[in-house]
């Protein structure tokens, strides 16, 4: 009995010892794990549970003056495969194929030793949802915003382009990139045991996403200008063509077209097409510049409207060079008639009365050889020789628009100053910038007066002269139904780079006009560079384009008809 009892005690002791030793081993392991391995394990868990993601916000929209979307960003997906996580490669291939994505690799090993094999880009969200519903392992999705331009080529130069990362490279996309792009943030997320994501911070998308930019441009006016200009561009097989429509009262740009153009949504092959000729290219304006000569002389009191000028029977010799009139005018004519018939000799005589210093002062006052300050990239300043370096031919040449380089925007802005009773305004293309889905305005464009160039009286006289040019002068073909038009033709010779002299083959035909003539609501500039065909004269090339554009815009803007003879 005693022996039995002793055996029992031994067994019990043994059992206790075994249990205690198991617990001791566990305790040792626990100490090892908690004290010696805790950092390593913590790191692994952190990696499994926590996830950091760079949240790239939606880029703001660009709209026209009436809120129509011109550029927007849409969420698209990049689908990638993780070969290490794929369980059934054939099923993965099948599901992707059903959704229009073909995998060319036959075996899983063909995908290589990587965890990221992109198989489809810019996939629509609904297709992604269909694939996600299958809950297959080894398929990953990466969201990315893609930029779209629903109007295609319309306004391509103004809108510009973005790179693959969504950064603006040209046009409004570049200038307002800071506002459009929004703030990227890093979000921290946790994953539960099933791999579901729990965000520890709710991100207010409206606070981080880019801001909307509203342009002053009206897409209908832009379309009218673009259609008409494209027709002329193709008809005359021109090298370039430009059209700008401006509201002279505020300075805001209603349309700006440069041809050739490009489609922002398609990969651009010809980088040269990105150049916005309307602000980046300079040209010799020709006779359209004559308004500056006449306005300056009238404002300075050096000439009067009643003054008469002898036009030298169409040929005037200065410093060994002969200045000619395109249309030979015999005898003497009044200042108004010289303007109507676009006499070069008449303008030279007016400018000579003005003198170098005063003429230079007014050229600069009208904004030439200065940046207009428009909110678009790549504006050219123009070319103008310092007045101290002018020779005997400089003043006569500039008087009729040769020997000076201007950009199209400077030219229309000068006409707008006349249309706006002598007040030069700063041109702009952005009306306002506001937060997406809110009404908070960050920035609102205000019309900015640059300076008063000429008096109201002088501006009124010039407007009357411009009206006469269209009524009975060189700009007859710019007439439109129901409205009075004031404008000026310009046919400038281009410099032949090989001969380094003015070409007799290449011209720039331009027309700048305003409607209605005496109280203009809009100003239109049309430039056709190197028109080919029977005629290169502005009166038959650019003026009809102006008429077509102005007629449609006047109707679209519902401007009250003022030409009593034609109503």
């Amino acid at each position: 009995m005693k022996i039995n009892n002793k055996n029992m005690i031994d067994r019990k002791t043994l059992l206790v010892l075994v249990v205690l030793s198991v617990f001791f081993v566990l305790f040792v392991k626990l100490v090892y794990v908690q004290i010696f391995l805790h950092e390593k394990i913590n790191h692994v868990v952190e990696k499994m549970v926590n996830r950091e993601d760079l949240e790239i916000p939606k880029r703001g929209d660009i709209t026209d003056a009436k809120g129509k979307i011109l550029a927007t960003s849409i969420k698209k997906c990049t689908i990638f495969l993780d070969p290490k996580a794929i369980e059934d490669f054939n099923e993965v291939k099948e599901v992707l194929f059903e959704n229009g994505i073909k995998i060319f690799q036959k075996n899983l090993t063909d995908l290589g030793n990587t965890s990221y094999v992109p198989v489809a880009f810019s996939v629509d969200v609904d297709i992604v949802d269909k694939i996600k519903d299958k809950k297959l392992k080894g398929i990953g999705f990466k969201n990315k915003y893609t930029r779209y331009y629903p109007e295609g080529r319309l306004l391509s130069h103004i809108l510009g382009i973005t790179d693959n990362e969504g950064k603006g490279l040209e046009g409004i996309e570049k200038i307002y990139n800071e506002f459009l792009s929004g703030n990227s943030i890093i979000t921290k997320m946790h994953r539960d045991g099933r791999g579901r994501i729990i965000q520890n911070k709710i991100v207010d998308q409206s606070k981080i996403c880019g801001q909307n930019v509203e342009l002053s441009i009206d897409r209908t006016i832009q379309f009218i200008a673009e259609q008409e200009l494209r027709t002329a561009f193709e008809k005359y097989k021109a090298k370039k063509a430009i059209c700008i429509v401006q509201n002279p009262k505020t300075g805001c740009i209603l349309a700006m077209v440069s041809l050739p153009d490009f489609d922002s949504s398609v990969k651009i092959k010809n980088v040269g097409a990105l150049r916005n000729s309307a602000i980046s290219d300079i040209f010799e304006p020709g006779s359209t510049f004559k308004i500056v000569t006449v306005a300056a002389a009238l404002e300075k009191g050096k000439v009067k409207l009643s003054d008469v000028f002898y036009l030298e029977n169409g040929k005037l010799k200065i410093a060994g060079h002969t200045i000619k009139d395109d249309h030979k005018i015999e005898g003497s004519v009044s200042l108004g008639k010289a303007m109507e018939l676009s006499s070069n000799i008449g303008m030279v005589k007016i400018a000579q009365r003005l003198g170098n210093e005063d003429f230079y002062e007014y050229i600069r006052k009208f904004g030439f050889y200065s940046l207009t300050g428009i909110d678009l990239p790549g504006e050219a300043r123009g070319l103008l020789m310092d007045v101290k370096k002018w020779n005997a031919l400089t003043l006569p040449n500039i008087a009729f628009g040769q020997g000076i380089g201007v950009n199209a925007l400077q030219m229309i802005n000068a006409f707008s100053a006349i249309a706006n009773d002598g007040v030069l305004k700063k041109p702009f293309v952005v009306n306002k910038i506001e937060k997406l889905d809110t009404v908070t305005e960050t920035f609102q464009s205000k019309e900015t007066k640059i300076r008063t160039v000429v008096s109201v009286e002088t501006a009124q006289i010039i407007k009357k002269l411009l009206k006469n040019v269209v009524d009975s002068g060189t700009g007859k073909r710019a007439k439109i139904k129901g409205y009075t038009v004031g404008g000026k033709t310009g046919t400038a010779q281009k410099v032949d780079p090989s001969l380094k002299t003015y070409s007799t083959k290449y011209y720039v035909a331009s027309f700048c006009g305003m409607v209605p003539a005496m109280n203009p609501e809009f100003v239109v500039l049309v430039i056709i560079d190197e028109p080919m065909g029977a005629s290169y004269y502005s009166s038959s090339v650019a003026a009809p384009v102006f008429a077509n554009i102005a007629q449609k815009i006047a109707k679209y803007l519902d401007i009250e008809k003022d030409d009593v003879n034609q109503i």
């Binding site: 979307i69 969200v125 629903p150 319309l154 965000q199 709710i202």
Partner: protein
């Protein structure tokens, strides 16, 4: 003894229960918010896509081409009747 047990232990049990319930509810709500956020993002994306589609369909150049294809012409001003 029994009374004192209830006085001491019960508040502790209730507190623990409330704490656990709160933790559980917050996790449940976090899941719900997460799901709703995902739904919201999805609807937003769909909305953006539809807006793009509408704007692409109403693109002036596209409409002009369709009109040209159907031989439609701009009506004469006199033949337009405005109805108030």
């Amino acid at each position: 003894m029994r009374k004192s047990f209830f006085v001491v232990i019960m508040p502790i049990i209730v507190s623990v229960f409330v704490y656990l319930w709160q933790q559980n509810t917050s996790v449940r709500l976090a899941y719900k918010v997460s799901t709703l956020q995902a739904d919201y993002d999805k609807i937003n994306a769909e909305n953006d896509f539809l807006r793009l589609k509408i704007n692409s369909m109403l693109a002036l150049e596209k409409m002009h081409k369709i009109a040209q294809g159907k031989n439609l012409e701009r009506p004469d001003e006199k033949s337009i009747v405005c109805i108030d």
